[in-house]
């Protein structure tokens, strides 16, 4: 009886499969793909792209002077257009295909071999094309972030060359080391959504760029106040919401870990905003809108590597720490060393990313992300995280410096004094806000 039914089942199985595949061929062709995960990751991809355009474009351009608003938006726009093509050409393949210690492979050069059915081993429940697109949006925003350090004074042609070079020599290797199976991943460095790969790399690169390009004309003497902070507030809102896709999507699935990441992310943004505002209130007598939005972004940047590893209430703590540490970096530290990191890419993203990486080492909770930090009795993780910070900081600083010096041999990276006075809008793009 048992043997008979077993034989029947054996016979029935191919018949059923054949019928099934006739009805839903796409599903049968690759049954591992999860519709839920795919739907969420499509949304998350759109959210992260929205962070750059218009999120970051508005956030940044609201903080520059009126004569540089379009020039600043052009930098975000250019990053989207340029990096997307480079990502497809070689970035994706070098970061996420092949598990070399230092770099991936060129097997997916111009997406060759990426098909309707292929998946990346890092995200087996969504189509490979979607994983590729999602990760593309991270590369885009990282490159776009750097521009804030040299706002108001970088030549557009030099910016384009810089973006190509920085993406290729800073972002691609770092992303592979941390996320693509490189040596930092092998060492156990934890970076859920980009504390090292996105924020520290952009912040450190930005700091170097600000120093190489030099301070803005009139820095410390003239009024360089923002053109329209209401744009920056709208930008912050878009970044904030987009960050749900940035951190939540980094779970690469529609699951509880994504929800935990989003919860910690939102709470960190709230705590960062409140903390920065409170500090200003106590020492400057008024909580500024710029301070509140900067605190929110600091909280978001700082929770980025930790989200997905920590509990929601840790998000609040991390946001408070972010507000305090980043405020100190944007005010005291910047004045002490007298560099003109114009839109505080280092002070907010660099310092925030670094802080978040250490916070991950402290607060990582096994029940959330499968790793334990200091609070759960694993001090070793903190050392591992320190290793990640040292490598990222060192690589980004050295590579960015060499890159800028090389570019400067061919194109002056800074606009002329006359062009700087006129503004980037008219001098670089032939347009102006009236």
């Amino acid at each position: 009886m048992g043997a008979h039914s077993c034989r029947t089942a054996k016979l029935a199985a191919p018949v059923l499969l054949a019928v099934f595949s006739l009805v839903t061929p796409a599903f049968a062709a690759n049954s591992e793909i999860s519709a839920a995960d795919t739907a969420w990751m499509i949304v998350a991809t759109a959210l992260v792209l929205m962070m750059t355009i218009p999120g970051l474009a508005l956030f940044y351009s609201g903080m520059v002077r009126k004569k540089n608003v379009l020039g600043t938006m052009a930098q975000s726009l250019a990053a989207v257009a340029l990096i997307s093509i480079l990502w497809v050409a070689f970035g994706y393949s070098l970061v996420f295909v092949g598990d070399g210690r230092w770099l991936g492979s060129l097997d997916r050069w111009f997406l060759s071999g990426l098909t309707m059915d292929s998946v990346n081993p890092a995200a087996k429940t969504i189509p490979e094309g979607l994983f590729m697109l999602y990760q593309m949006t991270f590369a885009i925003i990282t490159v776009a972030l750097v521009a804030g350090s040299v706002a108001d004074r970088m030549r557009f042609s030099a910016y384009l060359l810089f973006s190509i070079g920085w993406f290729t020599f800073v972002y691609v290797p770092l992303a592979h080391w941390v996320w693509g199976g490189g040596f930092l991943a092998a060492a156990g460095v934890l970076d859920f959504a980009g504390g090292l790969v996105v924020h520290l790399s952009a912040g450190a690169g930005g700091l170097v760029a600000a120093m190489v390009v030099g301070r803005r004309r009139g820095y410390g003497t003239e009024n360089l106040s923002p053109f329209d902070l209401s744009l920056a507030v709208i930008g912050t809102g878009l970044l904030w919401v987009g960050w749900f896709g940035f951190n939540g999507g980094s779970a690469l699935a529609a699951n509880s870990r994504a929800v935990m990441a989003i919860t910690a992310t939102h709470l960190a943004a709230c705590a960062g905003a409140l903390t920065w505002g409170a500090i200003e209130w106590s020492i400057q007598r008024k909580p500024s809108v710029l301070g509140i939005i900067t605190g929110a972004v600091a909280g978001l940047g700082t929770i980025t590597p930790a989200s997905g590893f920590v509990a929601p209430w840790h998000g609040i703590l991390i946001g408070v720490i972010a507000g305090g540490v980043c405020f100190w970096a944007c005010t005291w530290l910047k004045r002490r060393f007298n560099y003109d990191d114009s839109l505080d890419v280092f002070g907010v993203h660099g310092v925030g990313g670094m802080t978040g990486i250490f916070a991950t080492g402290v607060f990582a909770t096994a029940g959330i992300g499968g790793a334990s930090g200091l609070l759960e009795g694993n001090p070793h993780l903190l050392l591992t995280q320190l290793y990640g910070v040292a490598v990222t900081l060192g690589w980004s600083v050295v590579a960015t410096y060499i890159l800028l010096k090389l570019i400067d041999l061919f194109v002056p990276i800074r606009v002329s004094m006359q062009q700087e006075l006129e503004g980037l809008d008219i001098s670089q793009h032939g347009e102006a806000l009236q």
Binding site: N223, L224, S225, S288, G291, T294, C330, T331, K334, R335
Partner: protein, 112 residues
């Protein structure tokens, strides 16, 4: 004919306009201007960077009136624009040599 030029606080415009309308002044030109007087400027702080803003936003209103109501106009502008705080603004009165309405060609008091 007199040209009355008043520099006022921006949020006082509606009150001034209503007061002038009530005494029969039916035309006004308003310009957004910046300037300073005794009020001096204020300090703005952006992420720790302090900027002293010397020029404050004001409105400059211009009305052309018959000489006999110029004093009345000055009086109602004064009362409607005053807050008692420093920075309430100033009023200047100058004579008008000649006036002309472009559409009809009417001149002087007919043109007001």
């Amino acid at each position: 004919m007199k040209l009355v030029v008043a520099i006022i606080k921006p949020f006082k415009l509606d009150e001034v306009r209503q007061a002038l309308t009530a005494i029969g002044v039916h035309g006004m030109t308003v310009t957004e201007v910046k300037g300073y007087g005794r009020q001096k400027g204020h300090t703005e702080i952006y992420r720790g960077a302090e900027y002293v803003v010397n020029f404050l936003p004001k409105l400059r209103i211009e009305i052309a009136v018959a000489s006999d109501i110029a004093d009345k106009a000055v009086e109602v502008i004064t009362s409607s624009a005053r807050t008692g705080q420093i920075g309430d603004g100033k009023i200047f009165v100058t004579p008008i040599d000649h006036a002309l309405r472009i559409r009809t060609g009417e001149t002087d008091s007919d043109a007001l």
